[in-house]
């Protein structure tokens, strides 16, 4: 589907660039940077010249069967438009939702777990708790990602401190391999007891599995999360394994395509923590990317909001399949180590995001007279009915088309939206079963999807004690600008920000992100700080960081290392991370200060060291931000009839490309641009900010 015909480029040469004074080009500043975000429905590409800030954008439909094809199509288009050679590309940055969607839709590889004999049900038992916030009478324990029928035991035992108590019985591994063959699995996780202290057995099992089952993706727990506590480690390992085949073939394809296109630049992927990392890291631990795409969007949203002077924002990224929602207070993106993907805890550092299955492709369903919308999605294939690609089920996009809120074509006329198909789908799927008019059905669908998103926004705001009315809603993703105002009205939010290129905001985030990696060692036995040990371990970690810097090609001047010590009072179960202050005494003082500041007290107890960590980052040259030219007086390019709840209205349509800084408009209005359509309902007004964002406010 994604032939060049169905794609388009948007040269932003009509915008003027003002590189900030004093911006020092880094040694490879002449290299171009490409940022690619592959969503469920569209693939967005931004090519940027970091030294001038000049950017070229391309958008092309995603092709789920081979996302790399759209990836490359987009990159080629952008290069052509910029009249640049592939060799000029210095970095390829990429954010992806592949892993997230696989977990949320339970479409990961068919996976199995190999564990220590006697402990097959660790996953079923979990932490044996009824979660604190649920109701014990109504709670149903979620089905595990791998049922116990696919959990195999091998005879071996490592004990405390990594001591081998029982040799690995390779015959039992052979038996497990036979069972795995019968189970026809695509991925296997290996998580053995105490492997975090001694990975030898685990690595040997993984090696035997890889040799015997070359087509099966194998993950050992110590490759992903080498920490104590078997349940959480097993779960993370399984999730990693189940997305591994998908991600590995995906990254492999991307690299092949890049090579075909003569792009030799390294491929960097966005991680859940808002930093990027190389393909090798990601292949080994694809679970690090579960929030890759969403994290990129949040980083991008923070940047565009900051350019308008907003630090308190709620970000709503609505794509084809899902909506990702996050809250940023004071410009700080909060990271969590206790993230959750779907129903599962995932103990990897990630941006604090809530994801729900609500997007433009979400399918409406009527069962027993009840209308629901999502989480099932038509995705890019077949896509909404109005795409005319064979989709017959009514989607949210179809509802927008029926109400006149979307134009007849997308992507600057290269993709038609067929209203009649949308009407048929809604009539058959929703209106007739419920005895409604098509218009009522469409409006009902939108009310439900908005309501679902309001629920998720409440989770990040109200449920955490924040009043959404104190925040600006940043709406982006292909479908975000259609819903921004209606969501805000439901929440009492007064201000909405629509970024310059809402469909490719993830690309903005990719361009703004630094390379990030963490290297840590947990001491075999925690105890008082021993400076000799600390010096030795930091030296080892620094070596690891150095090889990583080299692997990632980070110039000396751009390397940053933060030495962190994780300390606790003897007996505590959680550590506090404090910067290593150079010696034991000063670091202990730092710890006491931090404990007092955070918890309000200190204890007269021994302070013990648990883990040492180096947080390495490779600083990327900050992108130069373009500024819009002055207002030219916005004129409507067309008028559309839109069915609002208040009635049928003639609505002016503006071309966003023609706006200058300071242009203003009042609702109802529709603003079209290549990658998104913004709907401004009656009662709202808007203004164009010099950074290119639209600022909408209630009259």
């Amino acid at each position: 589907m994604s032939s060049p015909d169905s794609s388009a480029t948007l040269p932003s040469s009509s915008r003027m660039s003002f590189p900030e004074a004093g911006q020092r080009p880094s040694p490879d500043a002449r290299s171009l940077v490409v940022a690619v975000d592959i969503g469920g429905t569209f693939t967005d590409v931004t090519l940027q010249d970091p030294s001038s800030g000049r950017a070229w954008r391309a958008k092309t439909p995603s092709l789920p069967s081979d996302p790399s094809q759209a990836f490359l199509t987009g990159v080629r288009l952008a290069l052509e438009e910029a009249a640049c050679q592939p060799q000029e590309v210095g970095r390829v940055l990429h954010g992806t939702t592949v892993a997230t969607n696989m977990i949320l839709e339970r479409k990961g590889a068919r996976a199995a777990l190999v564990t220590t004999a006697g402990f097959r049900h660790v996953l079923e038992i979990g932490r044996q708790d009824i979660p604190r916030r649920v109701n014990l009478y109504s709670w149903v324990k979620p089905k595990r990602p791998v049922p116990a029928s696919r959990i195999l035991e091998v005879r071996e035992r490592i004990g405390v401190g990594g001591v081998e108590l029982e040799e690995l019985d390779e015959a039992s591994v052979a038996a497990a391999i036979e069972s795995l063959r019968k189970l026809e699995v695509e991925a296997v996780a290996v998580c053995l007891l105490h492997a975090f202290a001694n990975p030898a057995h685990e690595q040997r099992v993984a090696e035997l599995l890889r040799a015997a089952l070359p087509d099966v993706a194998v993950t050992a727990s110590t490759d992903v999360l080498p920490v104590v506590r078997e349940y959480e480690r097993s779960l993370t390992t399984i999730l990693n394994a189940s997305v591994m085949p998908g991600i590995a073939s995906y990254v492999g394809h991307l690299e092949e395509r890049l090579a075909d296109a003569k792009i030799t630049a390294p491929l960097l992927l966005m991680q859940s923590n808002g930093g990027v990392a190389g393909a090798r890291t990601i292949r080994r631990a694809p679970a690090l990317t579960v929030l890759s795409g969403p994290a990129a969007g949040v980083v991008g949203a923070r940047d565009v909001a900051a350019a308008c002077g907003f630090g308190d924002i709620i970000t709503v990224d609505i794509g084809g399949t899902s909506a990702d929602i996050a809250l940023i207070k004071g410009g700080e993106i909060s990271l969590t180590q206790h993230g959750q993907v779907g129903e599962w805890p995932l103990s990897l550092p990630m941006v604090d995001i809530v994801t729900i299955g609500a997007g433009g492709g979400s399918i409406a369903n009527v069962t027993k007279g009840t209308l629901t919308v999502g989480p099932r999605s038509a995705g890019a294939q077949p896509g909404p009915a109005c795409y005319g690609r064979g989709g017959t089920e009514a989607t949210v996009t179809d509802a927008h088309v029926v109400l006149g809120q979307l134009p007849e074509s997308l992507l600057a006329g290269r993709m038609a939206l067929e209203r009649s198909l949308a009407e048929t789908a809604i009539r058959k799927g929703v209106a007739e079963p419920l005895g409604l008019t098509i218009e009522e059905a469409a409006r009902g669908m939108l009310a439900i999807i908005d309501s679902n998103m309001v629920g998720a926004i409440r989770v990040v705001s109200v449920e955490r004690g924040h009043d959404p009315r104190d925040f600006t809603l940043v709406a982006f993703g292909g479908a975000g600008p259609l819903h921004g105002c209606s969501l805000s009205a439901l929440l009492g939010i007064e201000k909405v920000l629509i970024p310059p290129a809402p469909g490719v905001l993830c690309a903005e985030g990719l361009l703004a992100a630094d390379l990030k990696a963490e290297f840590s060692r947990t001491l075999a036995k925690s105890g008082r700080i021993d400076e000799v040990v600390v010096t030795r371990l930091y030296a080892e970690l620094a070596e690891d960081a150095k090889s990583w810097f080299e692997e990632e090609g980070v110039a000396l001047a751009d390397r940053r290392e933060q030495r962190v010590a994780l300390l606790r009072y003897h007996g505590q179960g959680s550590e506090l991370a404090v910067c290593w202050a150079g010696d034991a005494t000063s670091t202990e003082v730092q710890f006491s200060k931090a404990h007092s500041a955070l918890y309000g007290f200190t204890l007269d107890a021994a302070i013990e060291l648990v883990t040492l960590r180096i947080e390495a980052s490779g600083r990327m040259p900050a992108p130069v931000r373009e500024k819009l030219g002055r207002a030219r007086g916005a004129k409507a390019i067309a008028t559309r009839r839109v069915r609002f709840a208040e009635g049928l209205r003639d609505v002016p349509v503006f071309d966003r490309e023609k706006f200058g800084a300071g242009d203003s408009f009042t609702g109802p209005a529709i603003i079209t641009q290549l990658d998104a359509t913004t709907l401004i309902p009656p009662g709202w007004e808007g203004e164009v900010h010099v950074s290119g964002s639209l600022l909408l406010a209630r009259e």
Binding site: I130, P131, R132, V140, S149, N452, G573, Y599, L603
Partner: protein
């Protein structure tokens, strides 16, 4: 919840809401934000306890809770705990709220003085008033189980106890901080009574800090919303729960008296079974309004052993309330539940209202059975409640081990082990859980911290009561003893009176404790017993019970039974015998299954070891 914000967002946004706020009315949107803000305070207080406490019982098992009370000490936002009653009353008896000052902190663990607000002495309760502009507006509470507070054996609770003085130090309501000045002497006295004073010290600091944090955060809420709006909001939260629970009670219980009897096996001293008899009467009051009266006075007399459950009169309403609130996260478990019952009748000297100084330490098994019996009442009246669950199991292992330096060290391992919960009319019972919020000691954790090695940790096969919906399964946990010497207490109930099944569902399997299983030295332990000696090299195997099933087992889809068999939850033998499903070569034998299922056994209302119409 979603609908409410859609309907109500508009009035909130306009100017009239600001006028309402001035008049002290909390509008519906502000109410939801207030509720969320209080939940956030709770989460922060809980996180502080978890991250800073020292004992594994608190930081790893997470036996702690927090709540917020209104200006009169009525619980407005609790935890989802069905066994909370009136938490503040015993403080007020000694310290009238009018005399309280900012910076005060109150403390107690006295079961009898608090009428069972805490029901064994290990639970320490800290409560502090929150003042705003000189006015008392709220209270915050943190509660945690302290691992050792003295008493006859390490861990303080023991099946051997015969009065409460053997169960550790008792703290009557005490002013721990007086206007900012800490009574260090009373703290020292408390810690001196613990076998593990460092844990006691660290845990108490954590608990005090969490209350301090709660006071600060609630103060911020008061500043943000105004005292009048908060007061009105808390009132609404209470009223909302109370109204909802009363509506649901009326839907469940026709006018008249509904009775249910359940039993625990023994008190560990050779007595039992003990029956608890509940009667719920719905009648019309003087003005024709509904009156709901819960009468437990027919329960058996108190026991010499420590299985007495000193039940705060608020508990039945809290438990029924939580059941009725269901899975809606917008609802709040609070004193609205207890307030929904007009009267709770208890008989002094009975198992549920024992006389001082009867021992209480093992009350957990009775408490869990009370919760099942309350669901029995619901089932008798409407048939929509869950089947019975097992009582969670606890083992206390105390002894000495030799450390790396060759020195003998004492240790205490209080290991809580999950059980199976009852099947619901719409879902299987929960497999392998302990109780609300309380977590296990992971295998790796327990081996790092204690002189044991686990040899098996898994699902207890066939422990879930068979049914269309299967009861949850219990757990097998097997330890190799690395300690030099240890004395073990074990608490398992529901062996002779297993958790009942309903609507054709069968009772759950029973638990057991056995030392050195499968060897010549094998010996079974009494399910509720102490003084069991273990030495290095012994193997201790604990199996816990399951929950009752719901619906006829022959109606369970054969594929579900197959998955249970392949996953080790149900044996092939039980699949054929109890579910009528024949499994051969890891597949369902459809023909043989159909043949078996034609011989469908007759069932009756309840099942406990056998089908019966009424449990007695």
């Amino acid at each position: 919840m979603l609908r409410s914000i859609e309907d109500e967002a508009k009035p909130a946004a306009d100017a009239s809401s600001k006028k309402q706020a001035a008049a002290g009315v909390c509008d519906p949107v502000t109410l939801e934000i207030l509720r969320g803000a209080i939940r956030a305070v709770q989460a922060e207080m809980e996180a502080l306890i978890e991250r800073t406490a020292i004992s594994a019982f608190i930081r790893e098992k997470k036996d702690f809770y927090t709540s917020l009370f209104d200006a009169d000490g009525v619980m407005a936002v609790g935890s989802n705990m069905p066994v909370f009653g009136d938490m503040s009353g015993s403080v007020f008896k000694r310290f009238p709220p009018e005399a309280m000052r900012p910076g005060d902190l109150y403390w107690y663990s006295d079961c009898y003085e608090s009428t069972g607000a805490v029901s064994h002495s290990n639970d320490q309760v800290l409560i502090a008033p929150v003042f705003h502009q000189g006015r008392r507006c709220a209270f915050v509470m943190s509660w945690a189980h302290f691992a050792d507070i003295g008493g006859m054996r390490a861990g303080s609770i023991s099946p051997d106890a015969t009065d409460i003085f053997q169960e550790g130090i008792i703290v009557p309501a005490t002013k721990l901080i007086d206007g900012g000045c800490v009574n260090e002497a009373v703290l020292e006295m408390f810690h001196r009574n613990s076998r593990f004073p460092e844990q006691s010290r660290g845990d108490m600091r954590a608990l005090m800090a969490s209350v301090e944090l709660g006071v600060k955060r609630v103060d911020e809420i008061l500043i943000r919303f105004g005292a009048a709006v908060v007061e009105d909001g808390l009132r609404q939260l209470l009223e909302r729960t109370r109204r909802l629970v009363r509506e649901r009670l009326a839907e469940t219980f026709p006018y008249g008296t509904h009775r249910f009897t359940d039993a625990i096996d023994s008190d560990g001293h050779g007595n039992g079974p003990y029956r608890m008899r509940f009667a719920l009467t719905r009648e019309r009051g003087a003005k024709g309004e509904d009156r709901f009266v819960l009468d437990a006075s027919g329960s058996d007399d108190q026991s010499p052993g420590p299985v007495n459950f000193l039940m705060n009169p608020g508990v039945p309403g809290m438990a029924l309330g939580l059941y009725y609130l269901g899975g809606d996260p917008g609802q709040v478990c609070n004193a609205g539940g207890p307030q929904a019952l007009d009267e709770v009748v208890l008989r002094e000297g009975s198992l549920l209202a024992p006389r001082f100084p009867a021992p209480l330490g093992m009350r957990g098994l009775t408490m869990m059975r009370v919760l099942a019996a309350l669901m029995g009442l619901v089932n008798v009246a409407s048939g929509k409640g869950p089947a019975a669950h097992s009582a969670y199991v606890i083992t206390l292992m105390r002894g000495t081990f030799t450390d790396e330096k060759g020195e003998k060290q004492p240790f205490l391992l209080s290991d809580g082990i999950g059980v199976g919960y009852g099947a619901r009319p719409y879902a299987d019972g929960i497999d392998a859980v302990y109780f609300v919020a309380q977590e296990n000691y992971p295998v790796e954790f327990v081996e790092l911290g204690y002189p044991v090695r686990l040899t098996h940790y898994g699902i207890a096969r066939d422990s879930g009561g068979p049914g269309r919906y299967r009861g949850g399964c219990g757990i097998v946990r097997e330890y190799e003893i690395l300690a030099d010497d240890a004395i073990l207490a074990v608490r398992i109930d529901g062996v002779t009176n297993p958790p009942w099944g309903i609507a054709g569902g069968m009772s759950g399997g029973a638990g057991r404790a056995v030392v050195n299983p499968g060897t010549e030295r094998e010996r079974a332990l009494r399910p509720l017993s102490d003084g069991n000696r273990l030495t290095r090299g012994d193997t201790l195997r604990i199996e816990t019970g399951g929950g009752g099933g719901h619906g006829h087992p022959f109606d369970r889809p054969a594929e579900d039974v197959l998955e249970d068999v392949l996953s080790g939850f149900v044996s092939e033998k039980a699949a054929a015998k109890l579910y009528g499903v024949v499994i051969a070569a890891e597949k369902v034998d459809a023909a043989a299954t159909a043949a078996l299922r034609r011989k469908r056994p007759q069932v009756r209302a309840f099942h406990r070891n056998e089908y019966v119409d009424v449990l007695a």
